[in-house]
Symmetry: C2
Subunit: 262 residues, 2 copies
């Protein structure tokens, strides 16, 4: 299969424009699985809970609808970060969309900095979904720093970990190599580019460098630090089913759970 | 305090020579805490359990004795990997030595490849010890690939994770940056150099690149891939007590244990 990402540059608050732009790029990319950045449809820096609530949508919203059309048309799967409306709350969420529409939603468990003022913290499990014949898991941006997140997904069988992101710090791309290695899974980080300064004194520059990493830790593709870009690589997701790293070492079976205190 | 490592080139089976060499280098290094490689006193590639038993020692052995003398003389702490005799068993162990002798022993939990034929698997907890005023934890080489190991040590308060190693694969030095970052701890990896081909057809070349990493993931020092070397850096271990990475994000308190399935 081909799996990849679209590194976008969202315009804050312009949902239709951002969604149409992403849908167009999805149609142009030869990929069975495409990951979009965190909050791809709205942009990142909300000024208040009210603003987030106003710009958030349900899984029956514009973004989900248009991406579902693209997924149906191309018979593919899409993972996209979005601001999710749920009653009076807004979550920083990610949805998995297939040819028949939305399959699952993950609500970001570990909110970073001012996100805590804007979003409710996630209340969904780290769940693994079938996308075509392949098991995928979702995590969002800052979740990377907690090794338990990718571990939980991998132990449940995730072959590909999809990570919509709005990274500003430089550590994650390198750390995701470790996440792939320690779990023997593919990981796809879709980051955005550009900058935002919607909150006074908080200029955020997003670092791009979206990437696709193989279970052996090799970086199959890494995007530039700036510039909009789409990329997909041919991968064999079955590689992620094999947790043997020597003839006598299995990454999962060797774990000394009897000695861990977590 | 000053903390560092000695990157050695052990000669297989020549315990006295290897220990004297290390003790001399310890005496020459300005460090309050020094980490030596895995199996520093014996070399790595044992041909059989019998050979390992023959060359292994207790904490009353030659290596422990001579290192204790050096630790007493310099009023420092030493972490050293050694083949530990315990009854009829041999463990791939690490000992923490202070001015008053051996403080604690860790027996490698995750044995790599042929080590499974040679050593008994570790039966000690991942325990944290006081070394002077500082809490240190020990793990050995391949333990790095299991994020639960450094996590367990950090959650118990380890400020410095000491990792005696005999690395042959290239991934660990980069991954230890992630281990330091995700736990906000210092890590010291002491690796060896040179090669061994004591088992027919198994030529092992050890990759050196011993390193000292700060809680923010910065590499304070990384040794060359070959060549014997000793290095120490001034560090402030109190930095590892602070798990805040933003004014509202604490790496330990933010962990969503309610969602992890480990």
């Amino acid at each position: 299969m081909n799996a990849g990402f679209i590194q976008t540059h969202p315009k804050f608050g312009r949902i239709k424009e951002n969604v149409e732009d992403a849908a167009k790029k999805i149609r142009a990319l030869d990929a069975d699985l495409v990951v979009l950045p965190e909050l791809f449809s709205t942009g990142y820096q909300f000024r208040s809970k009210e603003e987030a609530r106003k710009l958030s949508e349900g899984v029956d919203g514009y973004a989900a609808g248009r991406l579902s059309e693209a997924a149906k048309e191309k018979n593919i799967h899409i993972v996209a970060g979005f601001a999710e409306k749920a009653g009076k709350r807004a979550y920083n969420s990610s949805m998995l969309i297939g040819p028949r529409g939305v399959i699952g939603v993950y609500r970001k468990a570990h909110l970073f900095w001012d996100e805590k003022k804007i979003f409710s913290r996630g209340d969904t499990d780290f769940k693994v979904y079938k996308a075509g014949g392949v098991k995928v898991g979702m995590m969002i941006c800052f979740d990377w720093i907690f090794p338990e997140v990718s571990r939980t997904l991998a132990l449940q069988g995730a072959q590909i970990i999809c990570q919509p992101s709005n990274l500003v710090l430089p550590y994650c791309p390198q750390a995701m190599i470790t996440r792939s290695l320690e779990n023997r899974v593919f990981s796809i980080t879709a980051n955005r580019v550009g900058s935002e300064e919607r909150v006074r004194g908080k200029r955020l520059r997003f670092i791009g460098t979206s990437q696709i990493v193989a279970p052996d830790g090799s970086v199959l593709y890494r995007a530039a630090g700036d510039g909009v870009e789409a990329a997909a690589m041919e991968i064999n997701p079955e590689e992620a089913l094999n947790k043997d790293i020597t003839p006598v070492n299995n990454l999962f079976k060797d774990r000394r759970r009897d000695l861990f205190v977590l």
